[in-house]
Subunit: 395 residues, 2 copies
């Protein structure tokens, strides 16, 4: 066989996520690598009740095709929740239901990126987003990023001096992979800049509701008067990922392009999933559920931070995330964390090597830790194992 | 606001499907436009039982992330069914679960098409496939198509004389929109030709199990020794569309590209949907369910054919589909069916104008009729309404 593929498929890449998932599948591995929610909190019996009600009451609707944009009532619930939690002022018409926010990331590149166009991002940034974008041939510029998020002076300089910037990708709340959060003033300044330079920004916000300390901050979208912010949300982290339900919120002209991508790409998101989760939002107390998630993840974050503090040797630094699922560890530059990962796996513990989160693959001495998916005992044991490997490396 | 999109988004198109869905939403319209299954046959109570069992027995698994390729057991069931019904010899490893076969169509263009590459297709062909492909900038060549499918002499001539043919898109069983089916010899010849010219073919087979007369024929994939056929299947027509479950079956090298598209595009298909439908295949009798569907659709096809025979005026021709969901009507060339559609909608009846199914938009005197979704009374009333409009046009 001798098959010709499109040029976009001739590159490597994309394998990191599957490698991670492969690692997490072995039960003996303590994996801080994935970004999985804690399954013990999934509202299984509630969802069973919702499934029963949906199938009893609107069964033939639930199993039929439905519209590309998504059920109006479900979109209204999403808009209401955004307005309450993200301080936006949006309506059901501004929402498209997607198959997770990963799908919205992929659509974004399809909509905005011609080969050679430039995407600006934080440094480091979410590797799944890079995978979603890469098929469309972007160039990346990593904007200098401080402890409190993207550096606005650096951003303006890049915007002033760079042609073909088509999109800026950011995660202002509890960023993946670093756990960092942008302060209020930075949010306002960012929206001011993208409006001035007329560049679309993707605000990816999967974790915003999962805050364990400090005050909730308004979304970028809440400051967006002219419509340059495209907001991506998901039910994966506040309910569960199994239904693959996310959404895009954008101004009408831009949203129309996303709806077209949806029609062309998979017609619509699962009808029955939308109806079941819509009913959950109506009949159950999702806010109470989020409180439970926050309590458990806070406990796990605190324990991971405490164990790291006690076990990691001098010269290692880590972030203190105020929410979300991840923290980011920096080891001395003598250590290559991709190499060190092999030794960790031999010791049945896993993280994601940091290099995967830099489009330029420039830094090799970081790794990402997830604290939502492992129980307390495994957090302590796993961190000790990583500490031992690091100590050995530094010897 | 002033936003720059990628070039691929600057074209029109894609609106026909949403326009169709908008029309079908009004209850007073008798719509033969969509391709919707008959909801009264959906196994609602069975699916409720499956949902209960899945959530009781593996609830936390069902609501969690899972692998990009899909559950191994579900893929094995799909492979087994293909081997039984499509006479293939494939395994679970050859299958990727997708969000409906529409997603597999979009991935196909992403995988094989650089801007300006050529896609060969039947004439007419499925408009949803054209929408899925268009984002990647293909050129289309419509291969001459006879009453029994694509003309093999014409195909070979095109293959001999055309550069950059990257993909051939065909629906050999009960084609959308015409309802035509390729005979056995044509299937063998086709696979011989694509193997000789080393061109990938997409065999899109959503309706193959829905045969109402004549003998079932083996799939193109069953003759494919070297791996040039990519087979697309779906549960939308043999079970229901609401879960958005389809699949790709391809040789390992090609399937790896589809899996990568899946990871990049939306990570994975709904975990809970896969588990519920997998359990349905195990515990319920899907073959008995397909028999019910075939009995009902045969009755509706027969009634539509009979009513057309009685009501349509001289000079109108139509196909006699041996299965599937659609028939294809050709009116005298003096009639433009897109124009005539307005009069039909005024009379509360709808079809899809034929021009949408020609990439070159070259023919204006056809339309597609669906007979699966309207009950018997509405079929008779609706066909009479269309007949009246045609008679008026010819007056």
């Amino acid at each position: 066989m001798e098959v010709k593929y499109a040029k976009r498929m001739m590159t490597e890449g994309g394998s990191e996520i599957s490698d991670i998932l492969a690692l997490t599948a072995k039960p003996e591995v303590i994996s801080f690598a994935g970004g999985l929610p804690a399954p013990e909190l999934f509202p299984v019996q509630d969802m069973k009740k919702m499934a029963d009600e949906v199938l009893d009451e609107v069964g033939t609707v639930a199993l039929q095709y439905s519209s590309a944009q998504g059920f109006p009532k479900f979109r209204q619930q999403i808009a209401d929740r955004m307005n309450a939690k993200q301080k936006t002022n949006v309506s059901a018409d501004d929402i498209l239901v997607t198959s997770g926010s990963q799908q919205a990331l992929e659509f974004s590149a399809k909509i905005f990126i011609d080969e050679g166009d430039v995407i600006l991002c934080e440094s480091p940034t979410y590797l799944g987003a890079l995978n979603a974008f890469n098929g469309y041939g972007p160039k990346y510029i990593e904007v200098e990023t401080d402890e409190d998020g993207m550096n606005m002076e650096a951003l303006e300089k890049v915007l002033q001096t760079t042609d073909r910037v088509k999109m800026i990708y950011v995660i202002p709340d509890f960023q993946n992979p670093t756990g960092r959060t942008w302060p209020l003033e930075k949010r306002k300044k960012f929206v001011e800049l993208i409006t001035k330079y007329k560049v679309v920004a993707l605000e990816d916000n999967p974790y915003g509701e999962l805050r364990y300390e400090g005050e909730f901050l308004p979304s970028l979208k809440s400051f967006d008067k002219e419509g340059y912010v495209v907001y991506l949300g998901t039910f994966s982290k506040i309910l569960c990922p199994g239904y693959r339900l996310g959404w895009v919120c954008a101004s009408p002209e831009i949203l129309a392009k996303y709806i077209r991508c949806k029609e062309d790409g998979d017609l619509q998101t699962s009808t029955i999933s939308q109806l079941e989760v819509s009913r959950y939002l109506e009949e159950c107390d999702v806010d109470a559920h989020v409180l439970e998630i926050r309590a458990l993840y806070k406990k796990r974050r605190d324990l991971m931070l405490k164990t790291i503090e006690e076990e990691f040797p001098e010269g290692v630094k880590w972030t203190h995330p105020e929410g979300g699922l991840f923290m980011w560890v920096t080891v001395p530059e003598s250590i290559n964390t991709t190499e060190m990962m092999k030794k960790c796996v031999e010791n049945n513990v896993a993280y994601v090597p940091g290099v995967a989160f830099y489009p330029g693959r420039t830094k090799a001495n970081n790794f990402r830790l997830n604290y939502s998916n492992m129980d307390e005992e495994r957090i302590v044991t796993g961190i000790k194992r990583i500490a031992d490997v690091i100590k050995n490396e530094l010897r």
